[in-house]
């Protein structure tokens, strides 16, 4: 639980207010409505569980209700059949036992995503249902009856216990969303590569999401069976899994208010329909139609609407974009080339780097180095192997020949998220995590505790004055610069910056160049800039390496290299180059 951050307070306060109002309404209510609210609150817990794994970490898991079955069987076995433990303890054991099962389901998620994961988890749901129906697993039969202990059987006491559970778990989820775990869940949902490039372990992020969601589901399953008295396999059927999934989508269960709404609407609509003698199927039908509508609109469900409404009421944050210009700052900013003696191994050294995709050689024995605290450009026509070089250096391509060294240390055998401690990269396309504010994005990128002063320094460096606005509401230039900031906040020894000027205007590109020039002195990093914008390359890089068809055809002073006939031929073709 280390790394809990500020900023959770408004959500926690809102949660407390809503829960107190719920308590004030439900506690004095007749027993029937208290029962309805109890069921709703437990369903809201299952919603929280789906919210963690799908709403936050973006993994399409269809088996969260099945994980609740584990808690239910545990409580059934321990409390009713053999009276091994009291109810509160058996609830805790159920939650704990659900975790390894959740992790087991999470393991396939390390390789499977999207619909593939959905298929496996739906298959798991059917398997659990089958096991429940057979009834050989302890606690899975329905031939027992749980009697609540006397202190929980008092009027309203069980509702109070469920109320406290939801309040507690929702608070934990709110705090987790702001912790490094929660931020890493959001990051893998956006892009696993980008998350690893920020130093996030995708393995750990996925398994922690499954583990936390399983614990919540296990607890909820235990409470459900304690409420009903005995286990009915139908409670945890694949159909329930699917119904809860569509409800979670419709309500936007990634946030606590979505999970709360899931429980509230599901329980209340079922109760009302029952009172009016209408089949509860009608509610399921309406929720399913609602979920299709939410998916088609891409709005993030009920919680998304609530948050948009709140955001609309707020005054938009002022974000001033001030572009730096060479005409103002003078030509003295042009970086000087740093000489490196042959025995100096500091910075980035690429030795005989070779990457083959089947019969195609994408990189052919490429060797060059980026001396410590210097900037080198990497240019070449499309398909020359520039991005392959970045992928290999940062570990996203593991099977390469040759060696990549940072300050003399070979990086082979080190996974991308660990290489990110010394060697960081950005991406050609926008891979920022849209849901986060700039400081939160930088915090997750730091992979360590950072002070406000450090965050302020990075935000100042990239020229971002916004601190509360979501990244997906900021302009492209700011997002691109923040991607570079996310790279620098990790204090890497080497930064590989991939096509930072793509999509920027000439003025913005110049501003970017002037900021890039500052990196070596300000952050102590060596920089390799991959770029097509030759004006930017001339401004920023005293030296360039030129790739063509996977081969290094030049590595020289920028002006000399760009005038090299081989380089011109690579860009323009032999005929045009000779005319030029």
């Amino acid at each position: 639980m280390s790394g809990l951050r500020r900023g959770s307070f408004p959500s926690l306060l809102a949660l407390l207010v809503v829960m107190l109002v719920t308590l004030a309404v439900v506690y004095p209510a007749p027993k029937y409505w208290q029962y309805v609210a109890t069921i709703g609150m437990i369903q809201a817990l299952i919603g929280l569980s789906i919210g963690v794994v799908y709403g936050t970490a973006g993994m399409l898991s269809l088996c969260q209700v099945s994980l609740a079955a584990i808690g239910s069987w545990t409580v059934g076995y321990m409390t009713a059949q053999d009276h091994l433990l009291g109810l509160p303890w058996s609830l805790a054991v159920g939650a704990v036992l659900a975790v390894p099962v959740g992790l087991l389901v999470g393991l396939p998620a390390l390789r499977l995503r999207g619909v593939n994961l959905a298929i496996v988890t739906l298959g798991f749901a059917v398997a659990i249902y089958t096991v429940g129906k057979v009834g050989e697993v302890p606690g899975s039969t329905s031939d027992y009856y749980i009697v609540l202990p006397r202190w929980l059987n008092e009027k309203g006491a069980w509702f109070l216990a469920v109320w406290v559970s939801f309040l507690g778990f929702a608070a934990v989820v709110i705090l987790l969303r702001r912790s490094r775990w929660g931020l890493s869940w959001l990051a893998i949902a956006r892009s696993e590569r980008a998350a690893a490039a920020l130093g996030v372990s995708v393995f750990r992020a996925k398994l922690t999401a499954f583990g936390v969601s399983a614990a919540i589901a296990g607890w909820a399953g235990g409470m459900l069976v304690a409420t009903f008295g005995s286990a009915d396999p139908g409670t945890f059927s694949p159909f329930q899994c699917l119904s809860f999934f569509v409800l979670a989508v419709m309500m936007g269960a990634g946030f606590w208010e979505g999970a709360f709404a899931l429980g509230f609407f599901n329980a209340v609509s079922s109760a009302l329909l029952r009172q009016w003698n209408i089949s509860p199927d009608v509610a399921t039908l309406l929720f399913a139609i609602g979920s299709i509508q939410v998916l088609s609109a891409g709005r993030g469900g009920f919680s998304g609407d609530v948050r948009r409404l709140i955001a609309r009421g707020r005054k938009p944050e002022e974000h001033v974009v001030e572009l730096r210009s060479r005409s103002v700052e003078g030509a003295s900013l042009t970086p000087s080339r740093r000489a490196q003696s042959p025995e100096d191994a500091s910075g980035l050294q690429i030795v005989d780097l070779t990457v083959r995709y089947g019969a195609v050689t994408a990189l052919d024995h490429v060797s060059f180095s980026v001396p410590s605290r210097s900037i080198v450009g990497l240019v070449g026509p499309n398909g020359a192997g520039k991005s392959t070089l970045v992928d290999a250096c940062t570990g996203f391509i593991a099977a390469y020949g040759g060696s990549v060294l940072v300050d003399g240390a070979p990086q082979e055998g080190i996974p991308p998220h660990r290489r990110a401690r010394v060697l960081r990269r950005t991406f050609q396309s926008d891979r920022t995590v849209g849901e986060l504010s700039p400081p939160d994005y930088l915090r997750i990128s730091a992979a360590r505790d950072v002070t406000r002063a450090e965050l302020g320094e990075i935000l100042d460096f990239v020229g971002c004055t916004a601190t509360r606005t979501r990244l997906d509401r900021l302009d492209v230039r700011t997002r691109r610069l923040l991607m570079i900031g996310s790279c620098l906040v990790g204090r890497p020894r080497v930064a590989l910056i991939d096509e930072p000027a793509a999509g920027l205007s000439a003025d913005e590109s110049e501003d970017l160049g002037l900021r890039l020039i500052d990196i070596p002195d300000r952050f102590g990093a060596s920089v390799l800039v991959i770029e097509h914008d030759m004006e930017l390359v001339r401004l920023v890089c005293p030296e360039v390496a030129v790739l063509d068809f996977g081969k290094l055809i030049a590595f020289d002073h920028t002006a000399d290299a760009l005038d090299d006939p081989r380089v011109q031929a690579a860009y323009l073709g032999d005929e045009l180059a000779s005319r030029a």
């Binding site: 959905a118 298929i119 096991v131 199927d281 929720f287």
Partner: protein, 284 residues
């Protein structure tokens, strides 16, 4: 054992036909339709209505298939209207919504009572190696492979197939070339739902009268489609038969009560082996 293999072909044929539909939709429309068995079952259940109006078995089946196709038209229209630009995950998640709708509607049609579904083959059997095999099973198995062959040839040899392949590669570009993407989406959905209805028609007379098990046929059917790696229709059809026979053999063993868990095991093994090199979520 031979008897169990033959018995497995009954379910296997349904899985096979559904699996071919799944592969077709995945390849052409970029959607894994979790609703396929549920929608097909709705179409098949509509036969009860036509039967009650006095239609004979064949006419009821024909009308049921038409209803299945109409359900497909509605779903296809929704997908074309609202999900053209959506990701595969979002589209597939939407079909979970369709599945839930189909189960909710289906539960109201088959509300636990016992129904007698029209059986166009009147329960006739032929004898193979001394074992009676229902004609419907043979037709079902043949249907799966004829479907796999027909669809594969149709996609590769016809103008419509070329348009569908263009659409599957890049819908917006195909649209700019004059391909009517929405109409084709509706057409594929209608075709797949009609075929799914036909597939379920064969099992209904011998099957349960509760709706959810019919909708859950999607699990073994998806497992079968995966055996074809969601690409090859012949392999998917063969995978369906394999699933059916495997289930039948397990059912006869001492693990028989866990038969429904078989697809999960097969799915996990195939998926992890197939995707073992997919370390990252996106190409670059």
């Amino acid at each position: 054992m031979f008897a169990q293999v033959l018995a497995g072909l009954v379910a296997g044929g349904v899985y096979a036909a559904l699996a071919v539909c799944l592969v077709l939709m995945y390849q052409m429309l970029g959607v894994l339709s979790f609703a396929q068995s549920g929608l097909g079952a709705l179409g098949a259940c509509s036969m009860l209505f036509f039967q009650s109006m006095g239609f004979n078995a064949w006419l009821s089946v024909g009308a049921g298939i038409l209803v299945g196709a109409l359900i497909g038209v509605v779903c296809g229209w929704l997908m074309a209207r609202y999900f053209t630009e959506a990701s595969v995950e979002t589209r597939s998640a939407a079909t979970v919504g369709f599945l839930v709708v189909s189960v909710a509607v289906g539960n109201r049609i088959l509300n636990g009572a016992t129904y007698s579904f029209p059986d166009p083959f009147g329960g006739r059997s032929v004898f193979i190696a001394g074992q009676g095999v229902p004609v419907s099973t043979l037709v079902e198995v043949a249907l799966a492979f004829v479907l796999a062959g027909g669809v594969t040839i149709g996609l590769n040899r016809t103008f419509l197939g070329a348009q569908l392949r263009a659409m599957s590669e890049r819908a917006t570009t195909a649209q700019l070339l004059g391909v009517r993407v929405s109409a084709l989406t509706v057409l594929v959905w209608a075709f797949a739902c009609a075929v799914s209805t036909l597939a379920l028609v064969f099992v209904l007379p011998t099957s349960t009268t509760s709706f959810p098990p019919l909708a859950y046929l999607i699990v073994p059917a998806t497992a079968a489609a995966l055996l074809g790696l969601l690409q090859n229709m012949y392999l998917a059809a063969a995978g369906g038969l394999f699933m059916g026979v495997a289930e039948s053999l397990v059912l006869a063993s001492r693990f028989g009560r866990y038969t429904d868990a078989i697809p999960f095991l097969i799915v996990v093994v195939v998926m992890i082996y197939w995707r073992r090199k997919d370390v990252w979520s996106e190409a670059r």
